[in-house]
Symmetry: C2
Subunit: 428 residues, 2 copies
């Protein structure tokens, strides 16, 4: 199979793939769709075509892969599928590449099936792909951490003492992670204005996005048994784009000493298609040098970072799209392997479907800053947008779009987009 | 039904209830059992008798309650049952009180059923009662917050500026919440010793428990729609005892600026029986006066605190039990209603089965301090135990037991216990 795949990876699909599509034959991401009058079920996407995997399972296309129980292909979330493990999910992806490859007629000739299993993107609802058990947010971009440190703490000592020794992270809210296309209501909360003695209760005036990528684990460890860093790749199923919406003023008042809470948990938005680590394999690169040297449990040689191009757009009510940030996952100081090894080194157990976001991904240049907080330097420097408007933070009815893709030797593997509109605060 | 219940509440059961049992006829908590060779299923407990609710459902004992779909009585976790809502769960509890009441022969005469549905406590495995979607830990005891502030920050300004304005809370780890009887391995992690420049990797030397109570929600709100404080009681299903194990040295090095992470998520332990808010109703009391006055969204008149006696014991390897703390939920500054109103005021959505711990519950007197950190004042004052041993923090093979019960006019409603033994750190 591995040998076949090498050729397949250079191949084309009989399904049309538009130029610059994020979803060529070599991607085969996994998601969940809800066709009209049908229960939610697993799907994949090639070009602008979405394929219902439960229908393919019905017709026996996965029968030769040794999967005893095919119920994972009929589940309303991907957790069961992911939990099959790479032993099965990798061959499923390879089988799909085979079925969709130019010259393969197994599926192509089943005209009836094509009618019931194939949808044009946009004509079928795409749902949150997994039931997220636990969600962790890291803080792994050194430029972002330094920018925040300069603004809120000491410009001379922007990084806190622990930052270069461990991938700082904290637990976030799972329930309010929603899929691209879900609009989020501007949160209200306690805000302490500098000129007042007591906090006031009002809608956030400092609503922001954070450009992040997140990975999803596909395998569990036993409580009390750490995952050695050499083993961590086996646990990582795939990735999505993650928009970690943040209310900076609510967060500022609440977060000492136990961390962010209501400033974050009113909504986070992810892209719907989980791109597998196998699809991202060609885009591995070495991470940055880490000095001081990290403790042995965090050391891993090899290419453990990824070269994935990221972009943020703001579309105000005038409808004009403004790309305000171009960043890249290669700027991350801490790798996913290090995050996962650290997360479990105390024995903490993880499960299939758990999600781990990177933290805001900023580069050195201002054009790569992954949040408005950084772009407007705490609101002091408005960002000019098309049509004569500007932003220090997000305003009502602004739409935020994040995109991500990797590209090398003409192969483009992408994530599509995560899009969300901010609605005015509720009366309360 | 309500009128009947008043009499029933003064009644006795035909099931034997030992003196000072936490589980009289008036309790009827809910849990999950796993009888040998059977799937996990809902259960309740009277005295030392555990009753399989799926068996009672089989025999039609809940048929008159208007519950269309009885699958919740066969589910391996209580989430489906709780999600039925108080409209159904309250009548189920009342029906159980009726069935178990002295003089009621409906069930008592079904000798075959008694053999298959009844177990003696200890003879059947009791599991984690709910699949916990999200877990939040609050910090709602003023004495605990002040003690920690005195030790680690400024004795003159022990409370942080936000503490009296909002119930400080943060998101914790769901996956590592386990049921009483589960042993926890001493975690390893990064620790920064004062005399060294760099952190070391080693087993925690400051392992501690935190005496907390937790509530479980039974109803969801829509993302973006806060729960007004007057409505919050409708969302609270019941409570358990919560042992929030903590590694103080790991926490100290990692927690600035994003809060506790590996210092907490290696294991938290809860009592197995969820005691309903209806059973706890007689033990409501007024909360403490809150000054400065809280913002309107946090104001609620009436008796919103509870008088529940709490106790912590340490049993070292010598087998001698030492009660090291007697505390009470009445010491909590912030009520569960306030916690829930605050949690959702930004639109954060909650779900049936989500869990919310109180934070360590300490009173004014040293004898009521709910953690060893406080009892040993940061390790400076060893706590003497029976048999000539002492503790500043928890040692390997120590067992920690927490108990809770309320008592009034001869009625005792309790939670049983949560018990966990600390195993030595793993080699790694």
């Amino acid at each position: 199979m591995a040998n076949n795949l090498k050729n397949i990876n250079q191949g084309k699909s009989w399904i049309e793939v538009p130029e610059n599509s994020d979803f060529p034959l070599q991607n085969i991401p996994f998601g969940i769709i809800a066709p009209e009058n049908k229960t939610p079920r697993p799907a994949t996407r090639v070009g602008d075509t979405i394929i219902d995997l439960s229908e393919l399972a019905d017709f026996g296309f996965f029968d030769q892969l040794g999967i005893d129980d095919l119920t994972a292909f009929y589940s309303p979330v991907l957790n069961d599928f992911i939990a099959l493990g790479k032993k099965y999910t990798v061959p499923v992806r390879e089988r799909l590449i085979e079925l969709f490859s130019e010259g393969n007629t197994e599926l192509q000739n089943q005209k009836d099936l094509l009618e019931t299993a194939f949808y044009t993107a946009g004509s079928v609802e795409v749902l949150l792909p997994v039931d997220i058990g636990d969600y962790t947010d890291f803080y792994s971009s050194i430029e972002h951490a330094a920018n925040v440190g300069k603004m809120f703490r000491d410009p001379e000592n922007a990084l806190l003492p622990n930052w270069k020794h461990l991938p700082v992270g904290y637990h976030g809210r799972s329930s309010s992670i929603v899929v691209s296309g879900t609009n989020i209501v501007r949160p209200k909360g306690q805000i302490k204005l500098p000129e007042q003695e007591n906090p006031v209760f009002e809608a956030t005036q400092k609503l922001d996005y954070e450009l992040e990528m997140a990975f999803i684990t596909g395998k569990e460890n036993t409580l009390g048994q750490p995952i050695p860093i050499e083993e961590t790749s086996k646990y990582i199923f795939g990735m999505v784009i993650f928009n970690d919406l943040s209310a900076r003023d609510i967060q500022k008042w609440e977060y000492v000493p136990l961390g962010p809470f209501l400033g974050k948990n009113f909504g986070s938005v992810i892209s719907p298609w989980i791109v597998t680590m196998e699809a991202l394999e060609p885009f591995r690169i070495a991470g940055p040098e880490q000095k001081p040297e990290v403790l042995p449990y965090l050391r891993l040689s090899g290419k453990n970072n990824f070269d994935i191009k990221l972009q943020v757009s703001i579309i105000p009510e005038n409808g004009l799209e403004n790309i305000v940030c171009r960043s890249n996952t290669k700027y991350l100081y801490w790798s996913m392997n290090q995050q996962l090894a650290h997360h479990t080194v105390n024995g903490c157990n993880i499960r299939p479907g758990d999600m781990y976001a990177s933290g805001t991904i900023s580069g050195k240049d201002e054009s790569s800053f992954g949040s408005l907080l950084e772009l407007s330097w705490g609101g002091k420097k408005p960002v000019s947008l098309k049509g004569g408007v500007s932003r220090t933070f997000i305003e009502d009815n602004d739409t935020i779009v994040m995109r991500a893709h990797a590209e090398k030797y003409g192969l483009r593997i992408g994530f599509g987009e995560v899009k969300t509109k901010i609605l005015p605060a509720v009366k309360y």
